[in-house]
């Protein structure tokens, strides 16, 4: 009797670990930025590189930072979702054009539509490093106090908008 229990227990333990392993998403690294002040930058705008935008300009507003690039395939997948989301006008959406060619980026926005209230450029990826960006697209939600409240890695889907973003934004808009 005892002889059979040991392999059975070992099998169950192994099965449980493997099952948990299937659910892990090693690509999603928890961001240490959560609930911390948004990293500061002063970045040139995409449409006029002489004008700069900084997170401090957005204090008092709930805003989202979407990191994207014209060379990024998943961004293309995400783009229609963002376009639709922007039409609801529930939040200020800032695009961070990451390590991209400004001409290609402008082309992208004029042909696929521009969901962003403003777009800034991070030509050498240094702002990306400050925000802990390791793969585009990435999306951050920042509250009125300038605190990062949520980070989403990978393309935002319609489902994400409905189940995660809209709810969180509603909550944050209600905060002072």
């Amino acid at each position: 009797m005892f002889k059979y229990i040991i392999p059975l227990v070992l099998f169950i333990v192994l099965a449980v670990f493997l099952a948990l392993g299937l659910k892990l998403k090693p690509n999603e690294i928890p961001s240490p930025l959560l609930n911390k002040p948004a990293p500061v930058f002063s970045a040139p705008k995409l449409n006029d590189s002489n004008v700069k935008l900084s997170p401090t300009d957005l204090k008092g507003k709930v805003w989202m930072l979407n990191v994207w690039a014209s060379w990024c395939v998943s961004c293309r997948e995400e783009h229609p979702v963002l376009n639709q989301f922007a039409q609801q006008k529930v939040v200020t959406l800032i695009g961070l054009n990451y390590k991209d060619d400004p001409v290609a980026a402008k082309n992208w926005l004029s042909t696929l539509g521009n969901p962003y209230n403003d777009s800034v450029m991070d030509a050498d990826g240094r702002i990306g490093i400050d925000w802990g960006v390791y793969g585009v697209p990435e999306t951050f939600v920042i509250d009125k106090q300038g605190i990062v409240r949520y980070k989403h890695t990978g393309p935002v889907t319609e489902d994400d908008v409905n189940t995660k973003f809209l709810r969180l934004i509603d909550k944050l808009q209600a905060e002072s």
Partner: protein, 154 residues
Amino acid sequence: MFNRLIVFLFFLVSAQVYAVDTHQLPNPEQQKTYESIISELRCLVCQNQTIADSNAELAADLRRQVYDMLMQGKSKDEIHQFMTERYGDFVLYNPPFKAKTGFLWLGPVLFLVIGLIMIIWFIRRKKQATVAVVDKDKQEKVRRLLASDNEDRS
């Protein structure tokens, strides 16, 4: 045969081509620090490589960041702190001992202890089993048999 040789040579060449370009620091001591830092930081795109090994763009950017910070006179600890503030402990190949990483550090010891306990347990059980079968008379018989066996050989 000739084709195989060509293919083989091809592999030799490709290894050279993909060598990662790193920065050169002004003095050898800084260079050593630089190399030790980049070989302890994880490339977050290709997660099983260090930024010293990886050709990913992010790895190149992080190498540049390490280089810049060393040139500014920042210490190894300051650079580690800079990286963990942005990417979390995951970026370190040598994560600090914390509640969250406790299992990571103690897990192997735990498994070793479990293994030892199991070995001891099995050995004890085996011993008990063998002792139980052999009674006094039989033991004596065995001893005599072995003794006569030894005499035969000598």
